[in-house]
């Protein structure tokens, strides 16, 4: 292999795939990135067997070839190189990759590319275009609600359902649910339903560009995998098997009280309350006080035996009876951080039934949180 690529593109490509590298693996080759010529471009791939990331960068190829090199070493090196052309030259018999750039000349010992696990490939006809205005934002609004508990694998996933012209992502950890819908610009030929590890989607959100982006998704039948294909990158992941909870059944049909607040003010009050609440199981109490004559407000209080007591008020437009309800403040903060509209609506029924948070004037996102109870 003999290739020349721009240092910047190479560094960027390596940072993209490096998240799939598994440095602590028992298979040494998984700590490596695959560097290979591929149809006129240079391909970089990494996998931890659960998730794989590939990206392609433009390159001048004088000789085809492939090798795997330790990811850490290679990307640390490339990051230090000057912003010039990097020449990669493989000595296939010693599996050594020579990296030359400017005045620098380094040999890196690698492992035969044959040992690199094959990356899943999507047959072109299997992919469905997933044209969503902002898939990245969708992921950010949903994936955080997935569980991190390894004992409940299914809840570590995000349920993706797509049919006709609508795609929905949903995640839950057993205490909260996040559901986001979006319109597809083209209707789907076949409906899709899959539970994708939240971690893989978060990586996808990281490597995907902001804004509109053409992406195709394939779920090759019987392989338990999903592949997201973008122009210069691809992410594949194992799917999670099992039955995702029927979240629709849990979402209440109606609410007695609707409380509209400024998102920023509510978030700020929650962040302040959290400082005290984190020493007391993260409990905050929301006292929803509809005003008779003056505008209503929500009092947010946190108390901890060791740390102290805090109270914040947020002005609110309240429709319905007042209520005192307790929540895990971390849950509140996390959802408020992903809501982009200036106002947010909190809907409630009672202190032991779920509260629903959604962006004011946007029906595509809902987030349900189960309250806490003080014994």
């Amino acid at each position: 292999m003999k290739v020349s690529v721009s240092q910047q593109q190479l560094a960027h490509g390596l940072s993209m795939v490096s998240r799939a590298v598994s440095p602590r693996s028992t298979l040494p080759v998984l700590a490596n990135v695959l560097v290979a010529t591929d149809d006129g471009r240079l391909r970089l791939s990494a996998t931890n067997l659960e998730m794989g990331i590939t990206c392609w960068i433009g390159a001048q190829i004088t000789e085809q070839g492939a090798i795997t090199v330790p990811a850490r070493t290679f990307s640390d090196l490339v990051n230090q190189l000057p912003n010039e052309l990097v020449h990669l030259d493989l000595n296939a018999s010693t599996h050594t990759l020579n990296v030359r750039c400017g005045m620098s000349n380094t040999d890196i010992k690698g492992i035969d590319a044959q040992e690199f696990p094959p990356m899943p490939v999507a047959a072109p006809q299997e992919g469905v275009p997933l044209n969503v205005a902002n898939f990245k934002e969708m992921i950010q609004q949903v994936a955080f609600a997935a569980s991190t508990d390894e004992a409940r694998p299914i809840l570590q996933g995000v349920l993706m359902t797509a049919a006709d012209s609508e795609v929905t992502l949903a995640a839950t950890d057993g205490f909260r649910i996040s559901v986001r819908k979006a319109a597809l610009s083209e209707p789907l030929p076949v409906p899709i339903q899959a539970v994708i590890p939240a971690r893989a989607l978060q990586e996808l959100a990281r490597i995907a560009a902001d804004g509109e982006q053409v992406m195709t998704m394939s779920v090759p039948s019987g392989r338990g995998q999903v592949i997201f294909h973008m122009k210069d990158a691809e992410l594949s992941s194992l799917l999670i098997e099992g039955n995702f909870p029927d979240y629709k059944a849990i979402i209440p049909r109606s609410f007695k009280t609707s409380t509209t607040m400024t998102t920023a003010a509510f978030l700020k009050a929650c962040r302040q309350a959290e400082i005290i609440a984190r020493d007391g199981n993260y409990v905050v109490r929301l006292n929803i006080l509809p005003g008779e004559t003056e505008p209503g407000k929500v009092e947010i209080t946190a108390q901890s035996e060791e740390t102290g007591f805090s109270e914040n008020s947020v002005e609110a437009a309240i429709d319905g009876p007042g209520l005192v309800i307790a929540f895990n403040v971390r849950f509140l903060r996390e959802v408020l951080e992903v809501i982009k509209t200036p106002s947010v609506v909190l809907q409630t029924n009672a202190n032991n039934t779920p509260g629903m948070i959604k962006p004011a004037g946007d029906e595509n996102y809902i987030h349900l949180i189960m309250p806490m109870h003080l014994g």
């Binding site: 598994s22 440095p23 602590r24 693996s25 028992t26 298979l27 040494p28 998984l30 700590a31 931890n48 067997l49 659960e50 991190t148 508990d149 390894e150 004992a151 409940r152 694998p153 570590q156 839950t172 057993g174 205490f175 909260r176 649910i177 590890p197 338990g224 194992l238 999670i240 909870p245 849990i250 984190r278 007391g280 199981n281 993260y282 409990v283 060791e306 307790a326 895990n328 032991n352 779920p354 349900l368 189960m370 309250p371 806490m372 109870h373 003080l374 014994g375």
Partner: protein, 578 residues
């Protein structure tokens, strides 16, 4: 004392002692008789853990009218004719001893009608004496009522364990037979309440589901192996499903439940390197062999057997298990993967080197090397608080490294978190406990004895902030968790309460509470091999500093190792080691 021949009464009580040790032995003998009689339904009624009553009713062949007296006579059996038959035993019973033995230490009522007789017979025996034999109307089949067990042998009575333990023994026994005989219907009542019931459909996985819960049954791997005239089949747990004790490895040989350490260790060899230290599989294996290959006549309660070719049997068991595990382990499960393994897991795969493991190993060697200096292994610090610590980082995703004014601290994150949760839960249980309600209540099932234990602990669980309620037979519903535990699986946290209970734990109430909390915390604490964010690491340190006894986990293991400045200096030769 001169040598005297024992009176018949005493002699038969001694003989009974070998067969009938406790209520569960009575259940076993009667149940086996019912199975031998070809019953399709076996109904077992227990009162007061079997002290008051053990009754087994079946719809089997019954006892012919004229033989009813023989049935309770010692060495009377319909199952064996010649001594030679002893080597081809196909029935569970063969000594003709059980009813006689039971009858000598209880009040026994035997009612039976054989299908060919118009009316049945009832025989009443008390302390080994037949009191009455009379004709009676009865459905075809046999009912044996054993009342007031050991009423005439107070010494035996004293050896019985508390009711809970005796019940557990009975439950464990009936559960196992119900699994072994899926085509028979079993019903078990304790004090009038049904606690176990199977459909008799013949589907063993279905029986597992009714007794151990659908989730477990779904995960169990079915295995079979045939080797000439030997056949092994049954169910084994995947490596992701483990128990903390060996009790859930069950073996049936030719339909008979046996306990054999060699069989258990063959199974464990089958799992070799796949399970973490201290974890055991859940298995039910059925081995069938030509009767002449097994000697069942070695133990009075028939709980042990001898094989003619032991190595062949043990080897086959090990192979069957290993093959089963490998066959099912095709797609790497998304959660328990070796490649992101914790040091402990990857230790099981020695040939390849995992950097994480090396790291942990390094600290281990370090520990070993310096352990010649006593202050390392036995921290000689006051048992009280720890000084303020400055976090340096995490190693091997298992230990935290921190600096204190007096040297370096290595902290086991799991043990430390256990300690933190433990103290918080314990102090909360004395006041208001904030609970987090679940979106959807989770329903789960326990085996009967687990259900019993959990029911006893419900009030304490409520005080800890669990909202758990009974929800049908052996089934429970969790509606809320203590807020502290929201990162853990609700069912696992509740199960932890009953999972590892040892048979005879009868601690004082206060101690029991602490133990139970410790159990829950062990489950809920972060595991070794779990990468923590820097924020999580420092939060853990802060919480540990605030603990009353930060140096040990609730189970008494150390949470930290301290390498004093003094020690470091000596080790590096900066100061002579006097």
């Amino acid at each position: 004392m001169p040598i005297r021949i024992l009176s018949e009464e005493v002699a038969s009580q001694i003989a009974a002692g070998e067969v009938v040790e406790r209520p569960a032995s009575v259940v076993k003998e009667l149940m086996e008789n019912a199975l031998d009689a070809g019953a399709s339904q076996v109904v077992i009624r227990i009162e007061k853990a079997g002290r008051r009553l053990v009754e087994v009713a079946d719809d089997g062949v019954g006892i012919p009218r004229e033989e009813i007296r023989l049935a309770v006579q010692r060495h009377a059996t319909s199952k064996l004719e010649t001594a030679d038959d002893l080597f081809h035993i196909r029935t569970l019973g063969f000594r003709g001893e059980a009813l006689a033995s039971i009858g000598s230490v209880s009040r026994l009522t035997l009612t039976s009608r054989s299908a060919k007789d118009k009316s049945g017979m009832r025989l009443i025996m008390e302390g080994g004496q037949i009191k009455t034999v009379e004709e009676t109307g009865a459905p075809a089949g046999t009912v044996v009522r054993v009342e007031d067990l050991f009423y005439n042998v107070p010494a035996r009575l004293k050896f019985l364990k508390r009711d809970l333990t005796e019940r557990q023994q009975i439950d464990a026994l009936v559960t196992r037979y119900a699994v072994a005989y899926p085509e028979r219907r079993f019903q078990l009542y304790h004090d009038g309440q049904v606690t176990l019931q199977t459909a008799g459909s013949g589907d063993r996985r279905e029986v597992l589901a009714t007794l151990y819960g659908i989730e477990l049954a779904r995960q169990m791997l079915e295995i079979t192996l045939e080797d000439g005239d030997m056949r092994i089949n049954g169910f084994i747990s995947p490596v992701s499903l483990t128990r903390s004790n060996r009790r859930e490895m069950t073996f049936f040989i030719n339909g008979r439940w046996v306990q054999d350490v060699m069989l258990s260790s063959s199974v464990l060899q089958g799992y070799h390197t796949l399970l973490m230290v201290g974890r055991y599989p859940f298995t039910v294996l059925f081995i069938s062999l030509p009767p002449e290959e097994v000697d069942v006549n070695v133990h009075p309660a028939k709980a042990e057997v001898r094989f003619r070719q032991p190595d062949r049997v043990f080897g086959a068991v090990q192979r069957a298990v290993r093959r089963g595990l490998l066959a099912y382990s095709a797609p790497p499960p998304i959660t328990t993967t070796v490649w992101r393994g914790s040091p402990r897991q990857s230790a099981a795969v020695p040939p390849m080197i995992d950097p994480a493991w090396e790291m942990a190993a390094e600290t281990k060697t370090a520990q070993r090397e310096v352990s010649t200096v006593p202050s390392v292994t036995q921290p000689n610090l006051p048992s009280g608080q720890v000084p303020l610590l400055r976090l340096l980082g995490q190693i091997g995703a298992t230990y935290l490294v921190a600096e204190g004014p007096d040297g370096l601290y290595l902290i086991d994150q799991h043990a430390a978190h256990e300690r933190v949760l433990f103290e918080k839960l314990l102090s909360q249980s004395r006041g208001d406990v904030p609970t987090q309600i679940l979106l959807e209540p989770v329903v789960f099932q326990l085996p009967p004895h687990g259900a019993q234990l959990l029911t006893e602990q419900l009030p304490l669980l409520t005080r800890l902030g669990f909202d758990v309620e009974p929800f049908g037979m052996n089934t429970f519903r969790v509606r809320a968790l203590p807020a502290l535990l929201t990162k853990s699986d609700p069912v696992a946290a509740v199960r932890a309460v009953v999972e590892d209970f040892e048979e005879d734990e009868t601690p004082l109430q206060a101690e029991q509470e602490a133990r139970l909390i410790a159990r829950v915390c062990k489950r809920a604490a972060v595991k070794a091999g779990q990468a923590l964010t820097p924020e999580e690491q420092s939060a853990l340190l802060r919480d540990l500093e605030a603990c009353q006894s930060p140096r040990t986990c609730p189970h008494g293991r150390p949470t930290m190792i301290h390498l004093s400045v003094d020690l470091l200096e000596r080790q590096f030769g900066r100061r002579g080691s006097r």
